[in-house]
């Protein structure tokens, strides 16, 4: 899983060179990386390291700063929970001088606590609370301006949910699953579950999750394994009369 996070298969060679080389510091390359971000947004891909490269360029050249780009990056990072992507992005947001040259007022300071809150809810697996907060009126501006453009944002959040559910449950109640996934109508839920390959039980009240390394548990006794080379000295001493 980690290898694809470091170097996603959807990354082109051009971007690969930019991210891995010294060219990432060249301010004129920020346009290429921003275009790549918008490509990710439209086609439901995600490339963490390339987005971090954008933030680093903003760190060094504060005149390149574009708050919309930053918000989009953070939104994308929400879908990577529980990986630390969101935290890494925040680490790179340095302070900026108050007299920055922007045409419109900077939306980032207002949105940031909101995004922090959403991330925290996801990290603590409080999924119903997350959906409630997300659908609330307060976040309408977030929904209208940003997440609506991000294709499959809700699906990527659902993937976060599925990751958590998959590792913890072998069977989960249908209602509970629907609550976590924010799929109200039974048809939607059934369609989603079918896409995942999970099965319902006969009454349709419980969903079974196929076995994976995380949800198969067994009690293991970690025995010490004594190897022959460790014993050579003792054996050779015993061989002497």
């Amino acid at each position: 899983m980690s290898a694809s996070w470091i170097s996603p298969p959807t990354r082109t060679e051009l971007i690969e060179n930019l991210v891995s080389g010294v060219d990432r510091y060249n301010p004129s390359n920020v346009g290429i990386l921003e275009d790549y971000l918008y490509h990710q947004i439209r086609s439901q891909e995600y490339d963490c390291l390339a987005n971090l490269a954008i933030l680093k360029l903003y760190q060094f050249n504060s005149d390149l700063y574009n708050p919309d780009v930053v918000v989009n990056i953070l939104i994308k990072a929400l879908g990577a929970s529980p990986l630390p992507d969101f935290n890494l992005c925040i680490s790179l947001l340095d302070e900026r001088s108050p007299n920055a040259s922007l045409d419109e007022p900077d939306p980032l300071p207002a949105l940031l606590p909101v995004l922090h809150g959403l991330h925290h809810l996801l990290y603590r697996c409080r999924f119903p609370a997350f959906w409630r907060a997300y659908r609330s009126d307060q976040l309408e501006s977030l929904r209208d301006n940003y997440t609506v453009e991000c294709a499959g944002f809700e699906d990527s959040i659902r993937e976060v949910v599925i990751r958590a559910v998959k590792s913890t449950f072998t069977r989960i109640g249908t209602d509970r699953l629907g609550l976590y996934l924010d799929l109200d109508s039974p048809e939607e839920l059934q369609a989603y579950v079918a896409k995942l390959g999970w099965t319902f039980n006969s009454e349709g009240t419980v969903v079974s999750i196929p076995p994976n390394p995380d949800n198969q548990i067994e009690a293991v006794v970690v025995q010490e394994s004594i190897k022959l080379p460790q014993l050579t000295k003792v054996i050779s001493q015993a061989a002497r009369p």
């Binding site: 899983m1 980690s2 290898a3 470091i6 891995s20 010294v22 510091y25 963490c48 390291l49 971090l52 760190q59 060094f60 504060s62 529980p82 630390p84 935290n87 890494l88 925040i90 680490s91 790179l92 340095d94 900026r96 001088s97 108050p98 007299n99 300071p109 940031l112 922090h116 990290y123 603590r124 697996c125 999924f127 119903p128 958590a164 559910v165 590792s167 913890t168 449950f169 072998t170 069977r171 509970r176 995380d214 949800n215 198969q216 548990i217 067994e218 009690a219 293991v220 006794v221 970690v222 025995q223 010490e224 004594i226 190897k227 014993l231 000295k233 003792v234 001493q237 002497r240 009369p241």
Partner: protein, 710 residues
């Protein structure tokens, strides 16, 4: 009545005014004759350097003789490329002289000592280079013992730039007509090279933190900062480090070394180096390139970019941190091509471990810290290790070690205890408990107390983060705005704390805080093999079971289940070192000795870090616990070997000689049992081959066997 001013002729007598006017006109006439002034000016100019020289001579005379001779011989050693004496001068003589003469003041200015150097046969260039190196030592002393002012900071930056320029871009010698820069013919001890890079980054860090304190600047400083925006800029620092890496091709070198390892007729490290580039062939550049990679790691951590920090260590990390059979520990002799100073070891492990910690990869962080802390403990036992007679350097290492221990303590509390795969080192844990026992106790319990303890240790142990950009000194309005901002009022609408340390602290506390309810949860799970969620939520005191309000019961249950998901999530972690998949059936052993290591520092696979595994089946929780079997092999083997050693020793040692009757008895008993003696002799011949068989090793015979026979 005010005093008459000299020049307001209106207040004066007419006569006097005329006289003054006449005088003034005389001067005006003279002024219209520029030649006189030129002459005067020329005379003054001639005098000025003489004056300066006089000042310098006076200063030079004030320099003690010991110091003068030191400088001259130091210069000579550098000219002769005499590495051992340069090393001695640098590591011992310089600190001694500093302590003796200059513990509170600066060393003599470079201009002052310049006349001393012309006594050796050296070209202008060589003198110049020596002065650059001398200035490096001079400014380092200023930064460490005294308080640098803004001039010092600017000058030290220029000096460093000059030094690196010389190393990277000096034109090739006269024979070679190409325009390519050629490697420089200079030899410096490794310790000095590390100190150059270390100091460069340290000065950068100190400058950045000084620069961000806008309010405490004087008017002059503000002006100088406004003009000098290029000084100590992040781009130039990164540029230097990247250029050194590229010039010395250190990464290609390591890759080539790795390839050579597998081959049968492996070339030596030097040959490999020569085949890559003329720069790589010189130890000076190889060392500098290698140290620059480590420096880059540090700079990226200071700027808050943890993944990039680990990424630049791609090749070097495998080499230094080992794990793929290609480590600095394994075949040290074959890798003398790259130096391993204790200072670099510790610094690198500290930063790599910190990166892992911020990436929430606690097992990897713990592993890194344990490696370096073990190394340090061993080193402390050998205190007279060469290169460590410098007390100030040892102090710095001790301080870093302390901070590493604090980070270890934090990670220890964050990894849910009891994992069979993390193999927490007991030795280091007990050291950590001694030093930070109070905080560790608080952190393991969870709750708000834990967060306070985490904050305390984090602020102590984290690197001094910096802001990449300076406050806008060149924009007077912005500066005025910053200066006039009320310090007590929180910055408007800035939910990101502007201080980078605070920002990282908040992120870390959020992660740690999410884990604080988990220890209690774990303790309940320990007690059961299966459990209903209702019961669990009642244990957690979220609601009483007898509560009739269905909604609250359901809510509480929901809360409990969500905590369980968090627990599951936290018991999984990315790790670079993965236990080999050895188990197929239930109850089989999972051998901890079978570890595989994955390549670069950023990669890894998910492993389980908890011995408590559970799964939720609709409303029931099934729990399985892994235990570690008793490990007795090591103890038995060690004691067996020890007993054998004692036995051999006793067999091989001569009998204590008693005088008088006892001696006769010995002789008698010796003759009485000749057969037994011969047996004894046979024994001794085998067991202690080095001793001559005629030695009095009669105890084996005389002692036990006669009694047995009897």
């Amino acid at each position: 009545m005010s005093r008459p001013t000299l020049w307001s002729t209106a207040d004066m007598d007419e006569d006097l005014a005329d006289a003054v006017d006449a005088e003034l006109s005389l001067y005006v006439q003279q002024g219209q004759n520029p030649a006189i002034y030129d002459q005067l000016g020329a005379q003054i100019e001639q005098l000025e350097p003489l004056l300066a020289i006089q000042q310098h001579m006076a200063a030079l005379a004030a320099v003690p003789d010991v110091v003068k001779s030191f400088i001259v011989s130091f210069h000579q050693a550098i000219l002769n490329r005499d590495l051992p004496s340069i090393t001695i001068f640098y590591t011992t003589t310089f600190p001694k002289l500093t302590d003796r003469f200059y513990s509170r003041t600066e060393w003599p200015e470079p201009e002052t000592i310049a006349p001393l150097l012309s006594s050796n046969e050296a070209t202008e260039d060589q003198i110049h280079i020596f002065l650059v190196l001398y200035r490096d030592l001079y400014y380092r002393h200023v930064y460490s013992r005294l308080h640098p002012n803004i001039d010092d900071r600017f000058h030290s930056y220029e000096n460093s730039c000059e030094l690196f320029n010389y190393l990277l871009n000096s034109p090739s010698s006269a024979d070679d007509n190409s325009d390519e820069p050629a490697p420089v013919d200079l030899v410096l001890p490794e310790q000095w090279l590390w100190d150059i890079i270390d100091e460069f980054i340290y000065q950068f860090q100190v400058f950045c933190s000084w620069r961000s304190k806008v309010k405490s600047k004087t008017g002059d400083e503000l002006m100088m900062l406004a003009d000098g925006t290029g000084v100590w800029s992040s781009y130039s620092v990164l540029n230097v480090l990247y250029s050194l890496i590229q010039k010395s091709k250190i990464n290609e070198f390591i890759v080539a070394l790795k390839e050579e390892q597998g081959k049968e007729s492996a070339r030596s490290a030097e040959e490999v180096a020569k085949s890559i580039s003329p720069y790589t062939a010189l130890p000076l550049y190889r060392t500098l390139g290698y140290f620059s990679v480590l420096g880059l790691l540090r700079v990226h951590v200071l700027l808050g970019d943890f993944t990039l920090a680990l990424k630049v260590m791609d090749q070097v990390g495998e080499f230094l941190l080992g794990g793929s059979g290609f480590g600095a520990k394994a075949n040290k002799s074959s890798f003398t091509a790259l130096p391993t100073l204790p200072a670099t070891h510790i610094s690198t492990h500290y930063y790599v471990g910190f990166c892992y910690m911020m990436l929430r990869r606690y097992p990897d962080a713990i592993r890194t810290f344990v490696t370096v802390l073990n190394f340090l403990q061993r080193m402390q036992r050998m205190r007279n290790y060469s290169g460590y007679e410098r007390k100030d350097q040892y102090d710095q290492i001790a301080k870093t070690a302390d901070r590493t221990l604090a980070l270890y303590a934090m990670c220890h509390s964050l990894v849910l205890p009891g994992s069979p795969f993390t193999r927490l080192d007991d030795n280091i844990t007990s050291t950590a408990k001694e030093r930070y026992g109070d905080q560790m106790g608080r952190m393991s319990k969870g709750g708000s107390d834990a967060l306070a303890a985490f904050e305390e240790l984090f602020l102590y142990a984290c690197p001094k983060f910096i802001n990449a950009n300076s406050p806008p000194y060149d924009d007077p309005d912005a500066i005025a705005l910053l200066l006039s901002a009320d310090p007590t009022e929180p910055a408007e609408g800035s939910p990101i704390p502007t201080d980078p340390t605070q920002r990282h602290l908040r992120l870390f506390l959020a992660s740690a805080g999410a884990q604080s309810p988990l220890p209690t949860l774990r303790s309940f799970l320990h007690l059961y093999t299966s459990l209903t969620t209702e019961k669990l939520s009642s244990f957690l005191d979220l609601v009483k079971v007898s509560e009739s309000d269905q909604e609250t019961v359901e809510e509480a249950e929901e809360e409990a289940i969500q905590e369980m998901m968090v627990l599951k999530q936290n018991s999984r972690s990315l790790s670079r070192i993965v236990p080999a998949q050895g188990r197929s059936e239930k109850g089989n052993d999972a051998s901890p000795a079978g570890l595989t290591v994955i390549g670069t520092l950023l990669e890894g696979e998910m492993i389980s870090t908890s011995d408590l595994n559970f799964v939720i089946d609709d409303n029931t929780i099934h729990i399985a616990e892994s235990t570690v079997g008793r490990r007795y092999a090591g103890w038995f083997i060690k004691n067996t070997e020890r007993s054998q050693r004692v036995l051999d020793e006793i067999r091989g040692s001569p009998l204590p000689v008693f005088k008088g009757k006892v001696g006769q008895k010995q002789g008698a008993s010796g003759t009485v049992a000749p057969g037994a003696e011969s047996v004894a002799i046979n024994d001794s011949a085998e067991a202690a081959q080095k001793k001559a068989p005629t030695k009095t090793v009669a105890w084996g015979g005389a002692g036990t066997r006669t009694t047995l026979d009897a």
